[in-house]
């Protein structure tokens, strides 16, 4: 059963009709039904195209959070061979919200790190809905250190509503863990490529995304605060999330104009979840291209260019 978003209602209705006709088609051999189905399919396709061509910021937020959207694990299983997950921060715990490990990406040994939101109720709880605690960010630092030591490029996949706000997380230094993770990203002498595949939620995202190349999927979002959080502070009501989403300029398209990201990866028609493999491959191709370029630089250059890139930000407005 496909999940439809609220603004996809007309598309869902068409899909329901098509489904009903197909069911009829199984029982009879009426040629008209097949005709009707293909007509409706063309209509649904057109509608989808029209809807997705002009998604609002809030609609993009919904697509970015779509429960069926491919998550970190899907990317790893399709793009990384011999993936060898590595666990733990060697200090307190293993944090399942951030997965990471060694693997081979199109012929290169790499370290992969990413937030995993989970795909069903059980795995969502296990992965804490992709909201990492300090241990997750400390594990990320440990893996980046290892990448540095063995001269392996790092690929990070960002998909989180934000770092977890909890008592334990505060006690164990959530702020410090994020700060050190950003510092680690800035310090390593290997290529660091980051892709926002769904939600890039604030400090929890930048902790992994201070990279040489920052890529974003077409309908992903990246923001200093969630639209709901922003609305509840500035509008004093979470109901204004739509307005906040517009104001925050959190879409890949806006961020490209602000020169905060380097490339937008087009998604299949109707969003990544409608053709997962195609989307994952497209991101893989882009990462490969950036990796090829970055591998031409030496360690000191990689580090300097990463710093300079962030220092130059903020000169371009909308």
């Amino acid at each position: 059963m496909q999940n439809f978003l609220d603004f996809e209602k007309p598309i869902a209705e068409l899909a329901g009709k098509i489904e009903g006709l197909r069911h009829l088609d199984d029982q009879s051999s009426d040629v008209n039904i097949a005709d009707e189905v293909s007509k409706l399919e063309a209509k649904a396709d057109k509608l989808l195209r029209q809807t997705y061509a002009k998604l609002s910021s809030w609609q993009k937020t919904q697509v970015a959070r779509h429960p069926d959207r491919p998550h970190c694990k899907d990317y790893i299983s399709q793009l990384i061979e011999d993936f060898t997950p590595l666990a733990g921060d060697r200090n307190f715990a293993e944090d399942y919200a951030i997965i990471g490990g060694l693997g081979r990406f199109r012929g290169h040994s790499v370290v992969v790190i990413g937030q995993e939101k989970g795909a069903d109720m059980h795995s969502r709880v296990k992965h804490n809905f992709g909201m990492a605690r300090p241990e997750g960010y400390r594990k990320a630092q440990r893996l980046m250190d290892m990448a540095d030591r063995f001269n392996l490029p790092v690929i990070t996949l960002v998909d989180t509503a934000g770092a977890y706000p909890g008592v334990g997380a505060e006690e164990r230094g959530q702020s410090e863990a994020i700060a050190r993770s950003i510092e680690k990203c800035l310090g390593i002498k290997v290529p660091l490529i980051s892709a926002v595949i769904g939600e890039g939620g604030s400090g929890g995202a930048i902790a992994l995304a201070t990279a040489n190349a920052v890529l974003m999927l077409e309908h992903s979002i990246y923001s200093v605060i969630s639209p709901e959080g922003c609305a509840s502070i500035l509008w004093r009501s979470g109901d204004q999330a739509k307005e906040a989403a517009e104001a925050l300029k959190l879409t890949a398209q806006d961020l490209e104009k602000l020169e905060v990201i380097d490339e937008i990866i087009p998604e299949p028609l109707g969003g990544a979840h409608r053709a997962k493999q195609t989307c994952i491959k497209a991101l893989g191709d882009s990462i490969e291209r950036h990796l090829k370029e970055l591998l031409k630089l030496n360690g000191a250059e990689l580090r300097q260019k990463r710093r300079d890139k962030f220092l130059e930000m903020g000169q371009k407005g909308l």
Binding site: S175, E176, K249
Partner: protein
Amino acid sequence: MNWISNYVRPKIRALVQNDTPDDLWVKSPATGQMIFKKELEKNLWVCPYSGYHLRISARDRLKTLFDEGEYTLVELPKTMTDPLKFKDLKRYTDRIKDANAKNEDKEAILVAHGSMGGMPAVVAVFNFTYMGGSMGTAVGEGLLTAARLAVLQEAPLLVIPASGGARMQEGILSLMQMPRSIVAVDMVKEAGLPYVVLLTDPTTGGVSASFAMLGDIAIAEPGANIGFAGKRVIEETIREKLPEGFQTAEYLLEHGMVDMVVHRHELRETLIRIFNLLTQKGPAAKVLPLRDSTEDKAAKPKGNSKAE
């Protein structure tokens, strides 16, 4: 509309207000006691009865730290105003106008240099009264300026955050100040100079999760609220009451997140001792007591470098 609300109430209000003009007395947020403002100023904005540390203005703070209270403010580079053309219930440009009207200093950070205990020092202090000390592009630029100046003067850098976090009205560009501020403090660290942070009330959100938690030495002021997530957000997420003293300076000390919690009266002395220990590796240089003007400052060339 009627006589009571139009005439009587304002009169009563005026009478009550006249009893306690707000420029003479300050109410202690801890005990509710009224404290004579002059006395409070003399006591570095620490409540003389309860020891409660009230927020101190950025300029007053600088005065309490530098030798003889003398320092030079550094002009900060201009940054883009309102890069996103942000509007919530109010335009961001209007919020900036309001903040400018209410504040002597036109950004949420001040950068100063001078001497502390006879040694050069660079201090970047957040101006909390300016939009809650929120960190946008200008604050990031301020921290970079402070770091470059410290490197140029071979001076320790002290940063004093007092900030609710990122400035939402600058959206993603505010978030980008997290890595930018970290680049700044790493420049100081790589030059072999001390980077000391004084965490004051409040230090939260994107500010705490970046440069503020990366000090070689982390000092916190008593009672300061320091943490990543806001208390309300945490309560709504975990749906329980938060423990007593949660996210206070003392709580952070208890959990190993800061080196020390220092009373404002002992702050200057402590900072000078730390700078001394980290930079004067031979026998100790003479440490000045608070606001002592006996040291011969002419012997030390005073840095007069300008920010780039």
